[in-house]
């Protein structure tokens, strides 16, 4: 049986606004399957986003959905989660939303270890505004504001999350959609802040400028370039050139979760 996405998608909202070949739709489907796999009640889930193409996702999903201001989704989500710590709070962000203007909320959510799952739709570019470079655009790549090739440097988003104190850090890709389902499930089940950096293809503003002939070519690049972390670790430096690890990259289970710590204090004060 084909998976029934219709269960979760708001009636009348398809087709979505994403461009032909934009891989966001692929990841969107993975997210729905991952939620379904956990058998969660949609009433108990809030899906929050900032601004950008990725951030339009919540509009399609029949959860409690909140489309906020650019970069601030995690801060809104923190308010929701602290108010209702037993609910599930999920955030989707573009790479710009999450790590450019939203970088501060990103690192603080990591530090706080609040039980929110962040999915970064990382297409290496600002899609919504038409293709300016982002903090995850690799050096040498082209963008409307780096017309001569990017001379700025990119974040390694998982490394940033790890340095900031996140307790579950993973990377997936739109190509490896089935593996992604599993990563999202694990991220959501993790008690504490979890981040999945999800590599995506923006054919419209990134692909064309960077010599990808078609959306499919972008997916096939992912197929080649992303290697399970365990296998990646065994590559020689030569073999590793142009390749990136994927899967769960960092995980800590001992650190207390923020809501638990806060409400633990509330309990202590009562007694």
């Amino acid at each position: 049986m084909a998976f029934d996405y219709g269960k979760y998608i708001r009636p009348g909202k398809l087709p979505h606004i994403w461009c032909p070949g934009c891989s966001y739709g692929i990841v969107f489907k993975s997210l729905l399957r991952a939620v379904d796999a956990q058998g969660l009640d949609p009433d108990d889930i809030a899906l929050v986003s900032g601004i950008g193409c990725a951030s339009r996702l919540p509009g399609y999903v029949d959860f409690n959905t909140l489309h906020t201001t650019h970069g601030r989704a995690l801060a809104f989500a923190t308010g929701l989660k602290m108010a209702k710590p037993d609910k599930h709070v999920l955030v989707v962000s573009g790479d710009g939303d999450a790590t450019a203007i939203g970088g501060n909320h990103f690192i603080h959510a990591c530090r706080r270890n609040i039980d929110i799952t962040l999915l970064v739709f990382n297409n290496f570019i600002y899609g919504m505004t038409g293709g300016q470079y982002s903090p995850s655009t690799q050096p040498g790549r082209f963008a409307s504001t780096m017309p001569y090739g990017n001379v700025d440097f990119a974040f390694d988003i998982p490394a940033l999350a790890t340095g900031a104190g996140a307790t579950f850090v993973a990377r997936g890709t739109a190509y490896h959609a089935a593996a992604l389902d599993k990563l999202i499930v694990d991220a959501m089940r993790h008690r504490g802040f979890s981040v999945v950096d999800i590599v995506n293809a923006c054919p419209t503003t990134y692909g064309r400028r960077n010599k990808f002939k078609s959306p499919t070519d972008m997916l096939l690049w992912m197929k080649d370039a992303f290697v399970p972390a365990a296998a990646y670790a065994k590559l020689s430096p030569d073999e590793a050139a142009g390749k990136f690890p994927m899967g769960v990259l960092h995980r800590v289970d001992g650190k207390p979760e923020f809501c638990e710590a806060y409400y633990g204090m509330v309990e202590r004060l009562k007694s």
Partner: protein
């Protein structure tokens, strides 16, 4: 507003219609010395969805830059046609893609149907030059801008290496109209 002539290019997000408007306006304003302004509008849904680009030509000053009483409107998609054709003026012209626009809302205007996209993909070989085919057709229909100016404008705006392709597309657009008129 003596001789104000309003053109609207409409279709879906990725079809290059803003560029088409720019090229047309540039042909008029820079190469033919006619007053021209170009403007556009699109949704927050910059991606896909109906989009339009407008060019106003005039002998005099052009203050209000938007089309409200359209002399000629191009529609490459059904959605754009339905959404935008109400501003075409009595006696104006509605140019539609004959394969992609089936229901033309009734109105007091002349309807011209041309296989613009088909011509681009089949005769020229690349669907994405449909906008250039459309420019040719519109230039031919309106006769307001010289072919020389249009050609210069096209060639100055298209990516290096695609000049021949675009020249061919432009000619194909002219021909669609000329063949029809003959």
């Amino acid at each position: 507003m003596s001789g104000r002539y309003e053109i609207r290019f409409s279709g879906s997000g990725g079809q290059g219609l803003i560029l088409a408007g720019v090229i047309f306006a540039e042909a008029a304003a820079i190469y033919d010395g006619i007053n021209a302004v170009q403007s556009q509008s699109y949704g927050p849904e910059a991606r896909g969805g109906a989009s339009k680009s407008e060019v106003i030509l005039s002998d005099g000053a052009i203050d209000f830059p938007k089309a409200t009483s359209i002399d000629l409107m191009l529609a490459l998609t059904q959605e754009a046609c339905a959404k935008y054709c109400k501003d075409v003026k009595e006696g104006g012209t509605l140019l539609v893609d004959e394969d992609f626009v089936h229901d033309v809302p009734a109105g007091d205007y002349n309807v011209i149907r041309l296989p613009i996209i088909r011509t681009a993909s089949e005769a020229v070989g690349k669907a994405f030059v449909a906008n250039i085919v459309a420019i040719g057709a519109i230039a031919a229909i309106t006769g307001r801008v010289s072919r020389e100016a249009v050609e210069k404008a096209v060639l100055s705006r298209v990516p290096k290496g695609t000049e021949e392709l675009n020249r061919k597309a432009l000619s194909a657009g002219y021909e669609l109209v000329e063949r029809r008129t003959v």
